[in-house]
Subunit: 418 residues, 2 copies
């Protein structure tokens, strides 16, 4: 069978399974999730053996350490995977909830019912844990999933997907509810991105180059995360202790995450007070500073920042620092160079905090808190599908609700329109 | 200036204006809307003169009666246009509202603030009233608008857009908040659909061929309406009076609207009781019936329906009729042939009504009410941007809220992540 027909067959089968899932009750979906978790635990040996083969291939083809790290599974990781699936089972089922009832003058009652999106295509790279994680989220939200993992993790993904299949069977749900694309042919991704009659949404999970390639090709809407050029602005009316604590944490708690601060903006009147203690902390933690002229006037050891630095997501122990003249210039800087992900102001001035909250057009805007809080679990969403840097449908951390839609339900008693 | 650079210049200026609009307060936006309405009334003579020239060109180029009808403005239409703009002013301002406050164990408070989408591109055909209507909706929701109307309505659109410009000036809002693309060059639309760095969403308003062309070309998300193949299913436990009233109204109240019933499904046990009185009503109202064999066994005068009929949006006094064996077959038929727009069941059986509501995957699902109710005003949304047949972002009738997004706001007191 050629690859186009193979993918379309997967799509058609997903569409049929999606209708079964959409009407499955919460108990059935939770039973499948519990069974999947049990299968992951029971098959740990098989999964680790498959992973060892993937790792061997990756090492022999010269993959770097970070790549090997993302690909590696261990017993503890598998237990976390199983527990993660159980956590999704424990979340409230969004499907079927009706809200916003409204009695209209015509006599009809109008409400909104939460429903699955239908078929979700997930395209990911070397992390095999996404196989379990994405399966669980799609299943709980009543969606069928088509999973396309990286070829380097093919054996690990297959072993985990087998657990998912056995779990679905235990609960009497269709095997096609979660399909792993087996072929490593690159054309499969192209076809997946084109078959909009079978796939309702694409969620790419991976690095920027993957996302950009998918954006260029896809004819299907996406929930995606692009850049995280996040800012902390320390206002002239900041509490200095809070400012230092937040600017430290936002940069150094983890360097490689999308909600890590990449540029620090400091209000001119307090630069001489706040920059020296922060520079000392960053120096101790091995963070390289790159500043504009005014920042370098306070901390001469700083390297000069170029125009490129302001727009760079380092994902590394490097921080750009700029001294600005007040909140207006900070907001301007963020609008020009930021990526609309997460930006914070540190201030005790309520009016300026409100302006920052309203005028900074980012998926998360914060007052006196670390940008590192931009996360589905920290926000109380229970699970995280990803963080969306788009504006439509879902913005910021996306929970189960992001995999659903709402339809209108109308209850009448014979009403007609006049 | 070439057309690409011309469009990109419009995009850049819209982006700048969008930031001003996003922080404009409700009073300013409403003042602009009031001034626009006043300008439309004061300039009625100019608008009608411009419209007369458009009509003259359209007639001499052989436009048909329906086209001329859509293009025609008159004094009463202009008063409705002005009143429509005032109605938008009277709606609550969605922007800046914060909901879903959630106190987290970490000490942060998380909420969601409603914000504009940014820049909205509206592409429409021959109806010049869209110029005022779309301007008002975008303005109220804090979005900048780029309007591209049909070339045949160019002079009418320009006269109305001039009123919008004068209204914006009265309120001190930037002229670039609403830009009408002046050139009739077709390439302008292509560029508008490609410049996703300047345009956040495209709303096409027009016939199916316009929408399909835009779908094929656009790199920007859309709120769009495609097909309305709507069904009424008369269940065996229907109240026959309600069934007849609803099936009559859903088809005959207006033939050309997207929420008009195109296929009637009748449960076999009551076909012989419900079809004869309905056939008499339809005959009196000039509706041609096309039925399957079982329907024709009851009403032999019916023409036979072909496979094509089940999937056709007639927008005309034609109705497809099928006799089905119960709610399952009705749901199957709708899943296979419907367009996921609006579908209704008539029944007194609660369990079957619930199944229909849950399992029919359409933007509006109804019990004992006419499909003609699927409308933003009937649902109490206050205004209607359009009806979306998509699942993402907005589904079904779209009000002002569909032109907005939500960002997360986080309020801390110096919290950092551990």
């Amino acid at each position: 069978m050629d690859i186009v027909e193979h993918m379309r067959d997967i799509g058609r089968r997903a569409r049929v399974a999606a209708r079964v899932l959409a009407r499955s009750d919460t108990a059935t979906k939770n039973a499948a999730l519990a069974a999947i978790a049990a299968q992951v635990r029971a098959s740990a040996g098989d999964i680790l053996a498959a992973n060892a083969l993937d790792l061997e291939s990756a090492r022999s083809s010269g993959a770097d350490a970070a790549f090997i790290d993302r690909l590696t599974l261990d017993a503890r990781g598998l237990e976390e995977m199983a527990a993660g699936v159980e956590q999704v089972a424990a979340l409230p089922d969004p499907i079927g909830q009706i809200t916003d009832w409204n009695d209209r003058p015509s006599g009809i009652r109008v409400g909104r019912m939460r429903v699955p999106l239908g078929v979700i295509g997930i395209i990911y790279e070397s992390r095999p844990d996404v196989t379990a994680d994405a399966s669980a989220l799609c299943l709980k939200s009543g969606n069928a999933a088509i999973l396309r993992g990286g070829s380097e993790a093919a054996r690990s993904n297959k072993a985990i997907a087998d657990c998912v299949q056995r779990g679905l069977a235990v609960a009497g749900l269709p095997a096609d509810a979660v399909q792993l694309v087996g072929t490593t042919d690159r054309a499969a991704v192209g076809e997946l991105l084109r078959m909009n009659e079978f796939v309702d949404i694409i969620i790419p999970r991976g690095g920027k180059s993957l996302i950009e390639r998918i954006m260029a090709e896809s004819r299907i809407p996406m929930i995606k995360h692009l850049d995280g050029v996040c800012h902390v602005f320390i206002d002239r009316d900041a509490d200095l202790d809070k400012a230092i604590r937040i600017a430290d944490n936002a940069k150094t708690q983890r360097f490689g995450t999308c909600n890590t601060m990449e540029t620090l903006l400091v209000d001119a009147p307090i630069a001489a007070r706040v920059l020296p203690p922060l520079a000392a902390i960053y120096r101790d933690k091995g963070v390289e500073l790159r500043g504009d002229e005014k920042a370098r006037a306070v901390i001469p050891q700083m390297a000069p920042a170029s125009e490129v630095d302001w727009a760079t997501e380092y994902l590394a122990p490097i921080l750009a620092v700029r001294v600005v003249e007040g909140v207006d210039q900070a907001i301007e800087h963020i609008a020009r160079y930021g990526s609309a992900h997460t930006d914070a102001i540190v201030t005790e001035n309520r009016a300026r905090a409100d302006r920052f909250l309203r005028e900074v057009d980012s998926s998360s805007v914060m007052v006196n808190a670390s940008t590192r809080f931009a996360d589905g679990f920290e926000y109380g969403l229970g699970a995280e599908v990803g963080i969306s840097t788009d504006k439509l449908h879902a913005r910021g951390p996306v929970g189960l609700e992001g995999l659903t839609s709402q339809k209108f339900v109308v209850i009448g008693d014979g009403q007609v329109r006049t």
